[in-house]
């Protein structure tokens, strides 16, 4: 399968990339790691006339961790996320999740920016970013703007990003020290997209859950932030019955598609199990 013809561009600065995107118009697409885009180009589901490769834009490659905020450049690869001990110390769910994405070769090229900008409900990072309450920074010809990950996803492959915009940074508040976390992902085989997955971060004080946030992957045509389910946990002792009630509240907002990963009822059921496991594991890890 050889993709259709296109012109290849490799700008070396963000301004040049924005300029190219505006002058080339809607027939141009950005390429980051290419591991969602190139498969789609082979299937002719994407047929750009121009590809603008971001690999030389150095300003998109940094990971910054401080006590209040973490920010990730769009061109940071999954492998680089896994390798950063500083990031792992502050927000361990990112390594746990990245290790469950695809395989080593794909993680060497696939980027965090491509993963969240792509808009595929199967991508794992969007639910993580919704769960963390992350903000996306978009740069375009009119300057930059910020949008919450929770407002970014409209439908499968439709996001709030405008054609001429480049996602530059993903930022979020550094989770409270001692928080519990877990990403539980059910998949058919290693490297597969989720049948259903749940992301949880919570804090516990004196045996009582103080804060909680839950995100869900691949159980609707967008990632889901399960606000009500998390609300059930807050104030509880994270006992089995409460966790079950929270999982049911999460399942209630899912609307998975029927695909090779199983019938709708099965995927909803798995979503509930993933929420229960993720909450239980996070509770155990919380200090």
């Amino acid at each position: 399968m050889i993709p259709g013809s296109f012109e290849y561009h490799r700008p070396s600065s963000l301004d040049d990339a924005i300029g190219l995107l505006s002058s080339l118009g809607e027939d141009a697409l950005l390429v980051a790691g290419g591991h969602s885009l190139i498969p789609m180009m082979k299937l002719r589901m994407a047929m750009p006339e121009h590809l603008v490769d971001l690999q030389d834009v150095q300003s998109l490659k940094s990971i910054t961790v401080d006590t209040n905020q973490i920010s990730l450049g769009a061109m940071v690869t999954q492998a680089e996320l896994i390798a950063s001990d500083e990031l792992h110390a502050a927000c361990p769910i990112l390594r746990e999740t990245s290790l469950q994405i695809a395989d080593p070769q794909i993680r060497n090229l696939g980027t965090i920016g491509g993963n969240v900008a792509n808009g595929d409900p199967g991508n794992d990072m969007p639910a993580i970013m919704q769960m963390l309450g992350a903000t996306y920074v978009l740069a375009g010809p009119q300057g930059t703007r910020e949008i919450a990950a929770r407002d970014f996803y409209e439908a499968a492959f439709f996001t709030a990003r405008e054609d001429g915009e480049i996602l530059t940074t993903i930022k979020f508040d550094t989770p409270t020290a001692g928080h519990g976390w877990a990403y539980e992902k059910q998949k058919r085989k290693i490297g597969d997209y989720a049948t259903a997955a749940a992301a949880v971060v919570l804090t516990v004080s004196g045996g009582v859950c103080e804060t909680a946030s839950i995100g869900l992957t691949n159980v609707a045509d967008t990632p889901l932030w399960a606000e009500e389910a998390a609300g059930v946990l807050v104030g509880s002792a994270l006992d089995e019955a409460t966790i079950k009630t929270a999982a049911n509240a999460a399942v209630a907002i899912t609307d998975p598609a029927l695909d090779g990963r199983g019938p709708v009822e099965f995927r909803k059921h798995i979503a509930g199990i993933m929420v229960q496991r993720a909450v239980a594991k996070a509770a155990q890890r919380a200090q």
Partner: protein, 163 residues
């Protein structure tokens, strides 16, 4: 569409040519450079038969455009043995330990393991299995592949200790 200039290093040799941007790195290597070691198994980024080393990282060359690899340092299975033909410890271990049956996955397996052992010279069995999780083999059941990589790792660390 207009061809682009290509400059890269492949197995230590500088290559300067032109190519159509739609060319995938695997096709460039196999058809333009006559390096038919890396294979096309699935063409869908799953099997890893097309694995090559790009700037010190394992990648699936069926999912890289030739332009993306411009300026890169590429190593294929053809570049892993020594110049005089002496096999690399991994190649020798696969040969001695029945690490292959039909051999179709082998170039990708060895090229991946070559990088894995540089990232992690003493991997556990589990680390080897996770490390080659992007490479599929339809014949061996993986047992002898894992064993070959373990034996090569020991061999390489003895060699290192001796030097």
């Amino acid at each position: 569409m207009s061809d682009i200039k290509i400059n890269m290093t492949i197995n230590g040799q500088a290559v300067e040519t032109t190519a159509d941007p739609r060319t995938l790195l695997i096709h460039f290597l196999r058809e333009d450079q006559n390096l038919t070691g890396p294979h096309i198994g699935c063409d869908t980024s799953h099997c890893g038969a097309c694995t090559v080393d790009m700037n010190g990282k394992s990648v699936k060359s069926c999912t890289v455009f030739v332009g993306q690899a411009n300026g890169a340092d590429i190593v294929t299975i053809e570049g892993i043995a020594e110049a005089d033909g002496t096999l690399h410890a991994l190649q020798e271990a696969f040969r001695q330990n029945h690490g292959l049956q039909c051999g179709f996955c082998t170039p990708g397996m060895i090229t991946r393991a070559y990088r894995l052992l540089q990232e992690n010279p003493n991997p556990t069995e589990e680390e080897i299995r996770y490390g080659i999780s992007g490479n599929l083999c339809r014949c061996t059941g993986y047992q002898n592949i894992v064993k070959s990589i373990q034996i090569a790792a020991e061999e390489l660390s003895h060699k290192e200790a001796a030097e």
